[in-house]
């Protein structure tokens, strides 16, 4: 069922500016060329009856309900599949048409249950509406003929009847209500690109089936919900809709999971959330979504949520429930005490990409203005900080260059270190659509990710490199470009700095960078590398997409610069269809970076030593600001361990699970005297905290998120904060208690301040976003409506700057003790540390982290599928179950990190990117062995976890007690 708030014009809009004039029912109108007669009529307010057509899909023309009469044409063409033409004269209504339509409806209804009053879709069912629209008054065939409706017929089991499929935790399939319009099948193919559904059988016997007549959960279905949205009847319905009934109003907000930043309509009854429906007008997702954003929202009301502030003196004491005033006063007095005792620089803060721009901005403001230092960092440190460094150095701005829609003009996609079908599913669907339409794909990844081969998509090349050799492979690609004369000389001459380019050209032309010289290192045939380089360089439009598989390495920043070099050298930047596109992990990674949550930069990526910039902040904030860089997250841990860093304010970030070398992190947390955690749940870090401030979910507050395409979208409050305050209000309370006053009445005022102080945000405001739907920064006087594609005509820094990219193998090397390489990643249904998704029905797809091992390595170690295995590195050891899988190459193992008990980060090391200290999650030398008990770390972890749960107050206790 589509959104209650959207009108379905029947067929998709058409691109292009030309218009044609036609007459419909005697009225002349002008519509865009290429649209259907159905859409033209709908634009003029005439709704031609329809069933198999919907705006989200190309028309199919099967139901024959939308027939019209067109002057000069024989018969009754279907208006959904007939394009408008100049001078066309259409009649949408006549006695003949009415008769035909009634006949069609009569057939449908004769094989459909008549339980409208108790049906989920009641009031929003297209079949019901059409029966009304065509004036159906009787069904002459009766209901007891051959049918799909009743389980029994003539006392026998009805072979055509198929029972409900309730295997998917979020939606139900009730085949007896199906009208076989195939909208679901087409949605799964065209919109999602999974091809999980088929129409089986012919004629009256045809029916919808998931895969080979599997249940939905057992099929290839990824639970994106596109079919549910497309279904005109109750056949595919959200379980929440079945449970609660139809919503009465809706609000537009933005998904709080991944960096695609899908726009949703939250459909509500009062303040009860009935369902989330992707917004057709959403600029990032165009009406599509994935299982997380659409369905995995139950965590917001999960009983594990902590909704009262709590404090304690030491982490071995029970938590004490206190009032907000007491908690804030205690936290503030502790920070003041620590600063008095250990100095101004002994405390700091960490912001999260899960928070809004306004919240992140406020935390860094609190650190800089109230703490008086620059010890503020964000979780982007551990994911995309190399993107910021690498793109700023080469192109001049720390952000991706394109909008998502740019891919519609791409001819060759170079995808490296990213697995979009799992991590950025909605963009992956768009990419797959483009690939099905003929664009070519190069995948560079140690794993055989899904896009290498999936229905109707096959990569032209898969460079299955050894983990840790990104820079080597990019240098080899560049070497081919340089030595085979594939450089776009005109572009480079016009747009890039000459001396730096010449230096780079000489450097990269050195035979040590040839694919042949690097063949052994990469484990990829030189010929494949050469062919891939040629394919990308010769493409009319070549676009690079990359993810954490590029950044989370000891050479992450070098690799990002290598990508920018490649794009510049081949002229693939500065227009639609090309560019260098980081796929951001969490929803607001881009925003948290933009908002100045780095210890060396103010909002807008301006260094703290820049006197003029600092002066502008000092003037607005009314304080003197520190002009030296502060501590990064890993530096904070080091400083905590040496006793010079004592207090930390964490907003929405779970460093004890997400950061590498867990035991090092928890030792650092234990060494601090005041850890303040602001979060929804007692997360791993909160177990080491002294103050817990209950935060609010994205449904409970106003603000903005900025997605991977620099798109700023609104987050809207759908329900009141469960604990009383939105996160920005909590930061404000803390700041006031620290003696630095803040008086924002609404999140929009914070954004206004950001706009005043940050040139790239100059034109951004709640009002403007409300008007335009979303805005891509830079948004300023030159680009008042934002900037979809950057570096057009000129780079942000002026001339593009080629950087040298020496390949330096990581220090993390395999040896006899640790002979395998571990690399980490994520899967579709779970999100990051899993704090949210683990508390939803998404565990139906993934309820534990598994270690993927190549059959060869498994056999050598006597490991079978499902065995418990110990995974050890020089940092630590953990135990998890093995999955034997040939997606891996021999010598490489893989796991996810969604469950704390797995402790994948117990084994990752503190090796990090040379430029930004982004941890090297993607390469760890490990050994794997069969075991039959949890690791020592896990045993300690479980005991500690149990103890910390016991220290929580009884459920139901409230602040009055404090």
């Amino acid at each position: 069922m589509m959104s209650i708030a959207e009108k379905d014009l029947g067929t998709p809009a058409a691109e292009g500016g030309k218009r044609v004039t036609l007459t419909i029912d005697g009225f002349e109108l002008s519509v865009p060329e290429g649209v259907s007669v159905m859409r033209a009529a709908a634009l003029a307010g005439t709704r031609i009856p329809k069933l198999c057509a919907t705006e989200m899909l190309e028309p199919f023309g099967s139901c024959r309900l939308c027939l019209v009469e067109i002057e000069g044409r024989k018969g009754y063409p279907a208006s959904c599949t007939t394009a408008v033409a100049e001078g066309m004269v259409v009649r949408t209504q006549s006695d003949r048409l009415a008769g035909l339509r009634r006949g069609v409806m009569e057939l449908y209804i004769s094989d459909h249950p008549l339980d409208c009053l108790t049906c989920t879709a009641n009031g929003h069912c297209e079949l019901q509406d059409m029966a009304g629209a065509v004036g159906l008054r009787e069904v002459r065939y009766g209901y007891d003929g051959v049918n799909h409706v009743y389980p029994r017929r003539d006392g026998e089991a009805n072979p055509r009847f198929v029972a409900k499929d309730e295997s998917n935790p979020y939606f139900t399939f009730e085949p007896s209500k199906c009208i076989v319009c195939s909208r679901c099948v087409r949605a799964c193919e065209d919109v999602q690109g999974t091809f999980a559904l088929t129409i089986q059988g012919r004629g009256f016997d045809s029916k919808v089936a998931a895969s080979q007549d599997d249940s939905f959960i057992a099929s290839e279905c990824v639970s994106c919900g596109a079919c549910v949205q497309a279904c005109p009847t109750a056949t595919l319905s959200e379980n929440s809709l079945i449970e609660y009934g139809q919503a009465d109003h809706s609000l537009i907000t933005t998904c709080a999971y991944c960096g695609v930043g899908c726009s949703f309509r939250a459909e509500l009854q009062g303040d009860k959330l009935v369902r989330m429906v992707p917004n057709k007008n959403g600029h990032a997702n165009h009406g599509h979504s994935c299982v997380k954003g659409r369905f995995a929202i139950g965590y917001a009301t999960h009983p594990d949520r902590i909704t009262t502030p709590m404090i304690r003196n030491s982490i071995d004491e029970p938590w004490k429930i206190v009032s907000w005033d007491q908690a804030i006063a205690y936290a503030a007095s502790e920070f003041k005490r620590l600063q008095a005792k250990y100095g101004k620089f002994s405390v700091g803060g960490i912001t999260s990409s899960r928070c809004t721009n306004e919240e992140t901005y406020l935390v860094q403001k609190l650190v800089r203005a109230a703490f008086g230092n620059n010890n503020v960092d964000t979780c982007a440190r551990v994911c995309h900080s190399p993107t910021g460094y690498g793109l700023k150095t080469t192109l001049g701005e720390s952000a991706g260059t394109q909008d998502f829609d740019s891919i519609e003009r791409t001819d060759v996609v170079l995808l490296i270190g990213a697995n979009p079908t799992d991590a950025h599913p909605v963009f992956a669907s768009q990419m797959k659509r483009r690939l099905r339409a003929g664009a070519e794909l190069i995948v560079i990844d140690p794993r055989r990710i899904e896009l290498v081969r999936t229905p109707h998509v096959e990569a032209s090349h898969h460079l299955q490199i050894r983990p840790g050799t990104n820079v080597a492979v990019l240098d080899a690609l560049a070497h081919v470009v340089v030595t085979e004369g594939l450089i776009d000389e005109a572009f480079v001459a016009a747009r890039c700095e000459k001396p730096a380019f010449e230096k780079w050209r000489a450097f990269i032309a050195d035979p040590q960078h040839s694919p042949e010289a690097l063949e052994g290192e990469l484990g990829v045939p030189a010929r494949t590398v050469r062919e891939a380089a040629r394919l990308y360089a010769k493409a009319a439009n070549g676009a690079i997409y990359y993810g954490l598989g590029v950044t989370e390495h000891s050479q992450g920043s070098t690799a990002v610069m290598a990508l920018a070099n490649l794009a510049m050298a081949t002229g693939n930047i500065g227009r639609e269809g090309v560019g260098v596109n980081p796929l951001r992990g969490q929803n607001n990674v881009q925003g948290s970076c933009d908002m100045g949550s780095f210890p060396h930069e103010f909002p807008g990526y301006r260094h703290v030593s820049d006197g003029a910039v600092r002066a502008s902040f000092e003037k607005e904030w009314g304080v003197t600001l520190w002009d030296e860089p502060g501590l990064r997250i890993p530096n904070m841990f080091e400083a905590a361990l040496d006793g010079s860093f004592k207090g930390l304010y964490l907003e929405g970030e779970d460093i004890a699970q997400s950061d590498p070398n867990t035991q090092h992190v928890t030792a650092a947390l234990r060494a601090m005297e005041c850890v303040v955690v602001q979060d929804l749940f007692l997360n791993e870090t909160a177990k080491f905290a002294h103050v817990f401030l209950p935060g609010s979910s994205f449904l409970e507050k106003d603000g903005t998120f900025t997605n991977a395409e620099r798109r700023v979208s609104r987050v809207r409050q759908v329900m009141k904060p469960k604990a009383g305050y939105a996160d920005w209000e909590i930061t404000q309370l803390l700041s006031n208690a620290l003696g630095y006053p803040m008086h924002y009445r609404h999140a929009g005022e914070i954004l206004d301040e950001i706009a005043r102080l940050t040139p790239t945000f100059k034109g951004v405001s709640f009002d403007k976003i409300d008007r335009l739907g979303s805005i891509q920064w830079p948004c300023n006087d030159q680009h008042p409506e934002g900037t979809p594609v950057m570096h057009v005509g000129e780079f942000v820094r002026g001339k593009g700057h080629f950087m040298l990219t020496p390949y330096v193998p990581t220090r993390e090397k395999v040896n006899a003790r640790f002979p395998l390489l571990l690399t980490t990643g994520r899967i579709l249904s779970q999100y990051n540390v899993g704090a949210q998704t683990r508390r939803t029905a998404n565990v139906a797809w993934h309820n534990e982290d598994m270690l993927e091992v190549h059959p060869h390595d498994a056999e050598e170690r006597g490991i079978k599928d499902g065995d418990w295995v110990g995974l050890s590195s020089r940092a630590g050891e953990t135990v998890l179950r093995a999955r034997v899988s040939s997606r891996m190459q021999p010598g490489v193992v893989y796991t996810t990190f969604h469950f704390p008990d797995t402790g994948a980060n117990v084994v990752t090391t503190e090796n990090s990117d040379w430029a930004t200290n982004c941890p090297e999650y993607k390469v760890t030398a490990v050994q794997v062995a069969r075991v039959d008990q949890p690791s020592a770390w896990q045993q300690r972890y479980r005991a500690f976890d149990r103890r910390q749960q016991q220290l929580l107050p009884e459920a139901g206790a409230d602040a009055g007690a404090g």
Binding site: K503, H600, R632, A639, D642, W914, N917
Partner: protein, 76 residues
């Protein structure tokens, strides 16, 4: 802070800048990077470490930390 980690980080930065054929530019690059991204207490510590022998620092790292020390004196 753990000086071995700081030394390791400084050497990692040098591994990148070592590709620069102009030695002076490489030294300036590393020194500039430390100045721009390292908290003052880390810089003070690495400079002190160089003064007391600089164990573990690569050759380029030594030159760069020396350059950093000279620059900081000028600023101060």
């Amino acid at each position: 802070m753990n000086i071995e980690h700081l030394v390791g980080m400084a050497n990692d930065i040098c591994d990148y800048f070592a590709a620069e054929s102009d030695r002076d530019a490489a030294v300036a690059g590393v020194a500039g990077h430390l100045r721009k991204f390292w908290d003052p207490r880390m810089r003070t510590q690495i400079i002190a470490h160089l003064r007391s022998g600089g164990a573990g620092l690569s050759e380029l790292a030594r030159l760069a930390v020396q350059r950093l020390a000279d620059d900081e004196r000028k600023v101060a």
